[in-house]
Symmetry: C2
Subunit: 236 residues, 2 copies
């Protein structure tokens, strides 16, 4: 088994009202970006989804408080706070710094909020590509989150369509023929990580293609597979 991941060039600067599915389809219709094939996974960074969907809010760039008010508006709960760092739980159930709001790769004077429903954003991109070309791809909307205990950020899925979020290996036998204990793998987050390796943070490549994922991972899915309900969680 082999997977290949590459960044999609030529997406350009995205502005509110643009249809990402059309733009990505166009960019991927020629070499070396594409053409896309059945069971390719498209990983699309949150920033361009937020821009296309008009999730930009004016802030006073000289006033740190203006950013902070936004963070609290987008949160359902403050999980931790230390100095300027605020870890919140968002309306979607994501736990992350600053309710997922950030200012990098956004015009000065604006902040980008998370998409309202990233599963829907992913589905729309998938549906447009299917309608235009008959090709069935999985789509993951990715964002860059920190995590407890470990330094450095990694990319995670915040929206999925047509590709499993979590794959259940419960009941699968391990290589020694014993039932496995370790059971559920978050392939959507792992695919987001693989994509980040080819997108970098500052190179203006907001979309990646991953080819070679297991065919059985391609199915209906949603972020409900990933977001852990508060009552099952030991850390909030």
């Amino acid at each position: 088994m082999k997977i290949t991941a590459w960044g999609v060039s030529g997406i350009g600067e995205i502005v509110p009202g643009q249809q990402l599915g059309d733009i990505i389809f166009e960019a991927c219709s020629t070499e070396p970006n594409g053409p896309l094939q059945d069971n390719d996974v498209l990983v699309v960074t949150q920033k361009i989804v937020s821009k296309a969907e008009g999730r930009l809010v004016e802030i006073d760039p000289t006033d740190p408080l203006s950013h902070k008010v936004l963070v609290e508006q987008e949160a359902v709960r403050i999980v931790r706070r230390r100095g300027d760092l605020i870890i919140t739980e968002t309306k979607h159930g994501f736990v992350c710094a600053n309710s997922g709001i950030d200012l990098s790769n956004v015009e000065r004077g604006y902040a980008a909020l998370l998409p309202i429903d990233s599963d829907r954003s992913a589905r729309r991109i998938r549906d447009i590509i299917l309608a235009k070309s008959g090709v069935n791809v999985g789509v993951i909307i990715s964002d860059t989150f920190g995590r407890p205990w470990r330094k450095g950020l990694t990319d995670v899925a915040i929206g999925v369509a047509g590709i499993a979020a979590v794959v259940d290996l419960r009941g699968t036998e391990d290589a020694l023929g014993r039932m496995m204990q370790v059971t559920e793998v978050c392939v959507a987050d792992e695919l987001a990580c693989a994509a980040e390796l080819v997108m970098g943070k500052s190179t203006g490549i907001p979309v990646a293609v991953i080819r070679g994922a297991e065919p059985e991972w391609f199915r209906d899915s949603s972020m409900n597979e990933i977001v852990r309900p508060a009552q099952e969680d030991l850390f909030r």
Copy 2:
């Protein structure tokens, strides 16, 4: 930029005392596993490292307590406990379930402990391959950890050699020419995730090769780049 990841076949069952560097070099010396090239990354799962290094402990498979005593021995601190689930901080500073001890893919009646020093394990593999072939690879020892707030497990690095653990993008300009806020990316964990996608959990493929990682990521490194000191951590 393009990366490719594939599983290495033919490693076979590992027993205490075997030299993994020799075995991996051998497996990767022929098509389709190899030959290895400069700046390839080898991702090696913890389980075979623990086996090769004799980190196997006899337990009574009918007595759950015998496993639990081990978990506490390997921990420096219990971080959370609910029912049978114990989240501990290990001697290495990793926070994970059961001190990283698990029983899958291990012979019945034995538990595999984490390697004593996975950076050293990674370095040994790297050094053997360099000595035998003159090829400079990065090596990551990976394990499968859960995380707060998100369901599903993902692979992470628990040892590194010759490849950056965390890449610092501080001061890099974003695509709009502004200084970036998001700064440090844990490429070692992202590489471990990409590798997991091709290794699966039950297929007996304990090693993967990743080709195409950024040349500037190849340098001396250690898990100190990833383990967050307790005093900087908001969640223990």
